[in-house]
């Protein structure tokens, strides 16, 4: 039955959407290394390295720091199902799609979600958290998204953290989009449980979810009255595999672990502060270019994410829409940018500059492509002006 289909050859893409981001060749090379077993001493050594390197990017000493065998959403679910039980009250700050998702998961845990809604495109501010807490009784957790991928807003965690700490609730933080691209300070912020993803600013393919649990979170898990509702995500079992006991739980994703280790090595080589500065610089440069074209940012300047630029488009000619423009960028220039999610569907673009995608030449490549396609969609463009604006900020 030699009906060999021709092998899948992915088209060449510049990934400037909300993730996955471009992956460094060294990470792709790590992915293609031959397999070892999940209990092989060499692999157990790699797991120790992963834990150590994840602690460094999370800026934590938490022993229970590892990668969940699933994507970022599995990390979100892992944090919530382990901490919550039936009837627990959970304050969830909602300023976009991912806050909503947390609320949904909280309800599936049979806990009592107390969603506090903030308009999409706005950050969650300290006063919002004060108010949300004043409306709750005795919340077990306060859950917050640091970088809302659906809107491009960054909430000021450093200012919010002391308010959560005073409440006595456990602080659960989503850093899916922020980790590795802007400061994340798990220990300094007294975050009790945090999850992230690999395919954003860590520039590793999607498939793993870095998580970290602090002492108070582990105590809460130890004191549960019921079993964690997910066997797959039950950290009381997973920690025995990642810890000294090495008790088999499930077969770890070997190749993806190679890739994550290599991606974290690249982060270390660059250094966190240099990496953050690069993300900031390229964001400012892109913002200047986009604004020169007539794009308007969804988020106010002080709360804009460096790695995810959410923008309203300039007015297009009748019959033109944002999806058509995105499709042209993809088909003719091999550039992916993201569309809107939820309330912003069809209304905005989300331009990601994450990890390896946050490079000066990539910003310029996008602006050059826009200079070519925007006029066809009825947007007046002064040749060279957006690129010049971008170069000035670079």
């Amino acid at each position: 039955m030699m009906t060999t289909a021709s092998r899948f050859a992915p088209p060449s893409r510049l990934l400037l959407g909300p993730g996955p981001s471009d992956v460094h060749p060294r990470v792709l090379d790590a992915l293609s290394q031959p397999l070892v077993g999940h209990l092989d001493p060499a692999f157990l050594g790699l797991m120790d390295e992963l834990k150590r390197r994840l602690r460094a990017v999370f800026r934590t000493e938490n022993e229970l720091t590892f990668a969940v065998s699933g994507t970022g959403s599995a990390g979100m679910e892992a944090c919530l199902v382990n901490l919550l039980e039936e009837g627990d009250e959970a304050v969830v700050m909602v300023n976009g799609e991912f806050g909503r998702r947390m609320t949904d998961i909280v309800a599936r845990c049979r806990a009592q979600p107390r969603p506090y809604e903030v308009p999409w495109g706005r950050a969650v501010e300290p006063a919002d958290v004060e108010k949300a807490l004043s409306q709750a009784k005795r919340p077990k957790i306060v859950a917050l998204v640091h970088a809302e991928t659906s809107t491009g807003a960054e909430s000021p965690v450093a200012e919010i953290a002391p308010i959560v700490a005073r409440s006595g609730a456990l602080f659960v933080l989503d850093t899916v989009t922020s980790l590795g691209g802007c400061p994340v300070e798990i220990d300094a912020w007294k975050v009790d449980a945090c999850y992230s993803g690999t395919q954003k600013c860590l520039s590793c393919p999607p498939g793993l979810a870095p998580v970290t649990f602090g002492a108070r979170a582990r105590e809460a898990i130890r004191d549960r009255r019921s079993k964690v509702q997910s066997w797959y995500l039950d950290v009381t079992m997973i920690e025995k595999y990642w810890g000294a006991e090495r008790v088999y739980h499930h077969t770890a994703p070997i190749s993806m672990s190679y890739a994550l280790a290599e991606a974290l090595r690249l982060v270390e080589e660059e250094g966190l502060s240099a990496r953050f500065a690069r993300h900031r610089r390229n964001h400012l440069s892109l913002a200047a270019g986009l604004e020169a074209f007539g794009f308007r940012f969804v988020v106010e300047p002080a709360r804009r994410l460096w790695m995810l630029n959410s923008v309203f488009l300039p007015t297009l000619a009748p019959g033109q829409d944002e999806a058509g423009l995105r499709r042209r960028l993809l088909d003719e220039f091999g550039i992916e940018v993201g569309g809107g999610l939820g309330e912003f569907k069809g209304k905005i673009w989300r331009v990601g500059l994450m990890g390896e995608s946050s490079r000066r030449e990539k910003v310029l490549r996008l602006l050059s492509a826009l200079e070519k396609v925007l006029p066809d969609a009825g947007v007046a463009v002064r040749p060279g002006s957006a690129l010049a604006a971008a170069e000035q900020c670079a």
Copy 2:
């Protein structure tokens, strides 16, 4: 901060444990292809190809056939959390570790597990299922492990299937270890929900769990009174991403999807029946060789798995143990074989011949290595006899 750690270079291994198995170079090469987005038309095309190829190996027409973004255990959990609600009765046939795991997950769904225990090392026989059903009231599901990875026993699904069908319960089947290595007939057996893993006989790295749901299972899911307790594994949402709507749920594991597609292409090129014959032939050859050394099979001949050989060791000299022998194989010969799980911990070996690991030369390499290490552990060996026995069956 140029503190570059030397890159992880995995040691060269021959993987003859219970999975992961050796991965074909074409699959490793697919893993290292550059990324595209999870909503890229090219990737959506690959997803369609994956669905089609998974249907072919599952031998099903089920529309809802896809890969869960997690390992085999996530596939197990996906089947159970979607089908079960609080109070549902679930008959679970238990003849090893993975039946136990299903029982555990059933309880976490707040359903009523009715585990039916069979001694470890024995297959589940039709009479066992008759008896289990007679002790249940009105079970919503009957769950069975086709190939028990912890014991090496294959249960005769073709004979059991009509009994489950008569009961009216949904038939949930674990084919983690069997899929791609011996006949699996989802439609002919009227299996309603089935899950597998990628790292066994499909010879793809661990990280995805192929699943398939039939019409009755989908109806049961549609008729649920409550939401699925796992957001991440909720097929009512996931099917909208894998189906025509392409609604974003979570970011699919792009690179692992490339790898699985390539692994399934290799399966198609070989053809299922040739692949099964190869697994059978190499099993018989290995069995003859191991028995010549004095290993005794845990399972009776008619119920032995071709891809997982579970054996008691010959008597070792005082001070020698199975773990020490396995470590010598690993350290001196680069060969991984598995130890026992659960009741069989420290008592048996599990020698996997799965997918790319089921090759004549690999069988002979293991037997040659054993001929060298067994005498040091006090096992009398007649030089060349085990290899000759193996060659005779090859």
